[in-house]
């Protein structure tokens, strides 16, 4: 399962990670997000220690969503060493996400 991001753990899990991090910005009411969710969870169980796979609920974490200027969901953002290196909007396959993470 993907890790749930909150403003309390964001710094630790995402910004300070020494592995690439994928964050899936999503919401429960968002139909495409409901298709993306299981793909992200499956990715999480496959990549194991190679990368961090996380989800951020934009309803619960509006400050973070605003800070990262998320205006369309699902938005998938890859962080490396605390910096954004890639981002994509819309549902993406596991293979695409792996490519983005480089694992």
């Amino acid at each position: 399962m993907a890790i749930t991001i909150t403003k309390e753990n964001f710094k630790e899990v995402v910004l300070k990670s020494d592995k690439p991090v994928l964050v899936d910005f999503w919401a429960t009411w968002c139909r495409p997000c409901q298709m993306q969710g299981p793909i992200v969870d499956q990715l999480a169980s496959e990549v194991k220690d190679l990368a961090v796979v996380a989800k951020l609920n934009v309803d619960d974490q509006q400050e973070l969503a605003a800070e990262y200027k998320v205006m369309s969901i699902p938005t998938l953002v890859v962080f490396k060493n605390g910096k954004i290196v890639d981002h994509a909007v819309g549902v993406h396959s596991k293979e695409d996400l792996r490519k983005m993470l480089g694992v």
Binding site: P32, M35, M71, V91
Partner: protein
């Protein structure tokens, strides 16, 4: 409930309908636009027409052929596909249809609005689905680009979010009046560095927080966005059975990319029909 609703009445859609009918499935074709063939003057590389055939004539022939076989072909604009656990709901301005499976064969829309800033600001203020992204734009200044049923459908969702709406028709005539500001000149630029701040048209400049695009006939990509089907470069991604990542949702023809040719579109239609038939038979077995 209908076995299969086919959206699009071009070569892929009609071929699929003919095969499904032969498999004794209950099928409905819905489409408004005649697609790429409508504008093709003469087709000279298709089997069986020694002096070529006019694109529009060929597509009309296909529709007539389907109707002769007893297939319903409705001239309506599909504005939304929704999936529940039990069925797909296909919405047109005046009707809703329920189906066990849906085949998207709407062709490939050549992006009509590819101006400066369009690519770069997608997801950063430019959006394609009000129910998906409207949440981020409550009480904001919004623009909606479009002029027909598709735009009106999006507009009714947008009116729940904000009062500040401007409709941009891109030089087209509105098919029904709206109670908002209307701009008819064409957009020449989407303005903004990391997020959208406005649009420029041939004759003016406007500030906005968001722009939603619902121009012309909804494309395969527009449907995909709303249900969460995976796209690659605006093509629907399908597996070897022509099924998208959504169970029961299929796609064929130009909508899935590859060689944009008639022969390939018909082949896709036939293959998709075969796999849909298998799926319908499986569903039947399960329900027994």
């Amino acid at each position: 409930m209908i076995d299969t609703i086919i959206i699009g009445k071009g070569a892929a859609g009609i071929t699929a309908a003919i095969y499904l009918k032969r498999y004794n499935k209950n099928v409905l074709v819905i489409g408004k636009d005649l697609g790429a063939l409508e504008k093709t003057v003469k087709i000279e590389n298709y089997y069986g027409f020694p002096t070529g055939i006019d694109g529009k004539e060929l597509i009309q022939n296909g529709i007539t052929q389907a109707k002769h076989l007893g297939i319903d072909v409705y001239d309506e604009e599909v504005v939304q596909i929704d999936n529940t656990l039990e069925y797909f709901l296909v919405t047109t301005p005046n009707h809703e249809y329920k189906a066990k499976t849906v085949l998207i064969a709407t062709g490939k829309k050549r992006s009509p609005i590819n101006v400066k800033g369009f690519k770069h600001l997608q997801g950063k203020g430019i959006s394609f689905c009000v129910t998906c992204d409207g949440f981020f734009f409550r009480n904001k200044r919004l623009a909606l680009v479009g002029y027909n049923d598709f735009m009106l459908h999006e507009l009714s969702d947008m009116e729940l979010l904000t009062k500040d709406i401007t409709v941009f028709t891109e030089g087209n005539e509105l098919t029904a009046p709206v109670k908002h500001k209307v701009v008819t000149d064409k957009i020449i630029e989407f303005v903004g560095d990391d997020v959208l701040t406005g649009v420029k048209t041939e004759n003016g400049s406007y500030d906005f927080d968001g722009v939603f695009i619902a121009l012309g006939t909804p494309s395969a990509a527009d449907f995909a966005l709303r249900v969460g089907a995976i796209l690659d470069n605006n093509n629907l991604v399908v597996n070897a059975s022509y099924q998208t990542n959504i169970e029961g949702l299929y796609a064929a023809g130009d909508a899935i990319g590859g060689t944009l040719q008639l022969t390939k579109a018909s082949y896709d239609g036939m293959m998709a029909a075969m796999h849909i038939k298998n799926k319908l038979n499986d569903l039947k077995r399960l329900s027994k």
